[in-house]
Amino acid sequence: MRIGLDEGDIDRVVQRYRLEMARYEAAARSVEQRLRRELREAAIPVLLSSRAKHPEDVRGKLRARRDDGRYVVDALLANLNQIMTDLAGCRVIVYDPRQESVAADVVRSALPGRPPGKADEVLDKDSGYKATHVLVVLDGPEVELSLQGAICEVQLTSIARHVFNELSHDIDYKHRGVTPGGDVQRHLRDVLNATQRLDTMIERLAGARAHELESSQRVIDDSEDLRFVLERLLNRPVRGEVGKLFRLLSAVVTPLTALSIASLDVPGALARGGRAIAEPSGSIDEEHDDVIGIALGLMDRYGETFRELASLWRGPATVLKRAILEASS
């Protein structure tokens, strides 16, 4: 087997990719649409985008890796996506950097297929690049036949960090023969510093907003505000379908304010729900999240109603819906 790619090899692979590019565009779009729904349910505000890698970017990457032992022409022609896993890409940009890991959990749970031997990467490089990369494989009965097995790279980062990541990437990889000089390096460091400060300021803003909601009588009228209040009560990010929890709570309690949510004893409900999840096996399944714990912990009070409401939810049965329908009050 010949190691190393020449320009003829690269041309063949790029030509082959052109024929397959529509599949990767569809795969990326499918991931984006799925995540849009799931992240909305989780009440995490995000910017989402997706793309298939441009053929000239594929060419550039092949050139850069032409001496990499994995980049063998026969293997690339047989299954390019197994080697180049970012042909389909989806980007999830959160506002509050603390929500990057929560959003990554949503990705993992919504799209559980993983390529063998590829672990998630939580990157915090010396260069300043910071993001979480999750590789997902499109599979399952709801995925179109033509997309089955396609790998998509989901990148998650904060909006502030995204600015730095993109500028820095363009300077590093697309310098077009002009090496970045001292001024550019210095300004890039300034951008990184500003990015870090903006991340911190957004965290503070979100914390102050949560505090404001907690101490006011204002009615919580959307799931994002409910997330603020829950995170304040639990003093940590909340995982799960906050959108569905908002529907449950707003159906059974009025007025729904930070005060009324506190009066439900959310930490106590979470503890009770955790015990309910752990029975009878005694262990908590990884699928079960905070929202499921809170909902199950409130079943003694609202079980009948929660079951009735959950049975009305349309779409595929989520773990939360199943947990509610199967729980005893």
Binding site: R247, A251, V252, V253, T254, L256, L259, S260, E308, L312
Partner: protein, 166 residues
């Protein structure tokens, strides 16, 4: 065009008692209640008995139990009758009050909605309360929980009318 289904007093009682005493009141759009519309349209209170000389508050019985229905700003609130004799005599003043309070300008959403109001979660004046928005399922002839887009509408209307309900 088929005539829209209206809620009867019996169906309202079924909604209030569905949760076996958990909720104290069921609020619905008054224009959705058959007996209230009949009273205004035909000029007769029928089985309704006046409970208050100045307000459109009425009593009636189902299965030997007393209930009261109060109407304000287009909302009718059904509660259990605390006891005692049922009502004053029927008169035209009551019908006039009822007609004004029925809220003829309220548009029906093509759906029969109700808002169940229960007890407070804590013994403080502004404490939140147990509530549940419900929808009358005509096909199954029963009330079901509802958390769709019109839920907020009936809730806001009901809470706006509540202070006048005594």
């Amino acid at each position: 065009m088929t005539t829209p289904h209206l809620l009867t007093l019996t169906e309202l009682v079924g909604g209030l008692e569905r949760h076996k005493g958990r909720y104290q009141a069921l609020d619905v759009f008054a224009a959705s209640v058959q007996e209230l519309r009949d009273a205004v349209e035909h000029g007769r209170l029928g089985e309704l008995r006046r409970l208050d000389p100045k307000r459109p508050w009425f009593g009636f019985e189902r299965d030997g139990r007393g209930y009261q229905i109060k109407v304000h700003r287009g909302i009718a609130r059904l509660t259990r009758q605390p006891g005692g004799p049922l009502g004053l005599s029927e008169d035209q003043v009551a019908l006039g009050l009822l007609g004004a309070a029925l809220g003829s300008t309220k548009q029906l959403p093509g759906m029969l909605l109700g808002f169940l109001v229960g007890s407070q979660l804590a013994p403080t004046p502004d404490a939140p309360r147990d509530v549940l928005t419900v929808r009358y399922d005509e096909a199954e002839a029963r009330w079901r929980a509802y958390d769709g887009p019109l839920g907020r509408w009936i809730r806001e209307e009901a809470l706006r009318a509540e202070p006048a309900m005594g």
